[in-house]
Symmetry: C2
Subunit: 359 residues, 2 copies
């Protein structure tokens, strides 16, 4: 084995270590994408496609259902934590151990060792997840080749501590601008104070009662929050502009248009002169009532939890594919210098997925 | 006359032009202070004192009243507007024509030509008015030699378009900090939003009704305003801190302690965790009921107006000396490239002051 190949006969923890020792910081994934493609191409049960540094491998067995196993191959910048190190307690340390080369190792192990799954499988390995959304490889594939991602259900192997986290909440960020008229603060009656004009907006936020809808048995928790406020020209000037930046995290029973309409409605009579959507990423349904998902839950065990934060499962949601997060890493240690994963979690996840796909 | 002397036999407009052509940007007043001192020392009716680049000249005639005529000798930076230029319409153009070398010329003319005033006179020429308050020469004299400024009434010859502007309002700036607890905005119930916590502060400001007290016949107008607001950590974080910067402009019937107490009281039950006074300059009474002021008003004519903005008359207020603003310049053109003064205003102010001090 040279420095640029992957040996899929290694076990899950060994393969994770190998992947961690193969640096692939966002934007520098080409070598790893090449290695993934090279490792998958010889497998006769898979058709392999590539778009940029994104690799998609599919079985074509004519099964009644198709499921996706997806993971990103990039990491945040290395922080003196490569190469990986396995300690005596069975913990593997290093950049990407949790987020999410352990998940990628599980994908590769399933691809290599389950040639006749009970459901058709689509493996997606994509780049640039840890950077700005417009670079995201899963987004690029969804745009260029949506047919590659067609499926009944998707599992994203992001770190979830080997628990199922269903769907994800959407997130919309809006700039609400209030207007006034400048004046010297010694003659304030000559102007109109834009910061004071924000009082109804803050009152509305402070009084807002977020929804907690139950969807597919999961209780989501919404939130409508100011994440920024800015106003002021100089210490002796009545300010003519004040902007409140609001973030609405919404449950997957709302579509993007409904979510935006709700925010507009909340602040409809608050004197907002400009309503600007700065960022918007939709929610994803957990889809736990789907037969493939039910079988998945039975196989992996435990109780599914709602996913409150936004993840790439939303990109499946946008394609109409229900999705869950399920991976061996622990999100608490993602992006940290002391990032690590318990190797028994890697083995556990691999076994549970194999059980689901072969029973 | 060489380049470093002042000839006090020039008339007011000529002397103004001479002063404008004698550059004295803040921090570079020494030559002009030397010249002022040298011009005043030979006058037998005056005792001349100096502190830094501040010159104080006093009569000691044992009159029943003593009044101050004060002005700063510095200017803002020159903007291609020196030397001065007198146009055919009797307008003198140049840096400091309005703010306030025309006023200083009037002071010097009165000093030179009224050897036996009906009230004892104190002439104050000070430096560094156009820069940060801690450099202000009048403040330095008040601190080092308060006895030099003892008087019954003071006239500051700042540009007031030859109208009397009585006293000045005080100004206090306060930072009101609200506190919360950080959390990821996808799990907002884990934290507490400091921007939302500012809602009662803004509501209080929006509902505030400022006073309009009448003092010595002048109607002042207070104002309590947010001049800045800042909060936010990142677009996906519930912010743990929000600061509202408030500016209270208050009428001269309140002392500094009362003004601060009022601001504290207004926001007493708004959840403010830190109340920090950032800047505070007291008000000055107009003192128009004082005999010296009454005679002054009769001599200069017109109707006194309240001064809403803060000026150095406040420094006299702090010493217990009522004070007014009265000078030939027009404040609208101060600090501008096209700064100018109508020369008949210079003559008018000089005549009115001479009338007051000799009748």
């Amino acid at each position: 084995m040279d420095g640029h190949t992957l040996d899929l006969s290694l076990d899950g923890p060994e393969l994770t270590a190998r992947l961690v020792d193969f640096p692939s910081v966002s934007g520098q994934e080409k070598d790893l994408a090449d290695a993934v493609e090279a490792a998958l191409r010889p497998l006769p049960h898979l058709t392999v496609d590539r778009h940029g540094n994104n690799v998609v491998a599919r079985t074509r067995l004519g099964r009644a259902e198709r499921v996706v196993l997806a993971g990103h191959i990039d990491t945040v910048p290395i922080a003196d934590n490569v190469p990986s190190r396995l300690d005596d307690d069975g913990v593997l340390w290093g950049c990407g151990t949790s987020d999410m080369k352990s998940g990628v190792a599980v994908q590769l192990r399933i691809a290599a060792t389950v040639p006749e799954p009970n459901r058709d499988l689509t493996f997606v390995f994509y780049d640039n997840e840890e950077v700005a959304a417009q670079h995201n490889g899963l987004g690029h594939v969804a745009e260029a080749h949506p047919d590659w991602l067609e499926a009944d259900f998707a599992v994203l192997l992001e770190p979830s501590d080997a628990q199922v986290e269903g769907g994800c909440q959407g997130t919309i960020r809006v700039h609400l601008r209030l207007e006034g008229e400048r004046a010297h603060s010694a003659r304030s009656w000559m102007g109109s104070n834009a910061i004071h004009a924000a009082a109804p907006v803050l009152a509305r936020l402070a009084a807002y009662e977020p929804r907690r809808p139950v969807i597919d048995g999961l209780e989501y928790r919404e939130g409508l929050n100011a994440v920024g406020i800015e106003g002021g020209v100089a210490t002796n000037v009545i300010p003519d502009s004040c902007t409140v930046v609001v973030n609405y995290r919404y449950a997957p029973d709302l579509g993007p248009d409904e979510a935006e309409a709700h925010v507009r409605e909340v602040f409809a009579d608050c004197g907002v002169v400009e309503f600007t959507v700065d960022d918007h990423s939709g929610a994803a349904m957990p889809g736990l009532s789907h037969p493939a998902a039910k079988a998945f839950m039975e196989a992996v065990g435990g109780t599914a939890q709602p996913k409150f934060g936004w993840t790439d499962v939303s990109r499946f949601g946008a394609l109409g594919v229900p999705a869950v997060n399920y991976g061996p890493g622990d999100a608490l240690f993602a992006h940290k210098r002391d990032e690590h994963v318990a190797v028994d979690r890697i083995t556990h996840c691999e076994e549970r997925l194999r059980s689901w796909l072969t029973s």
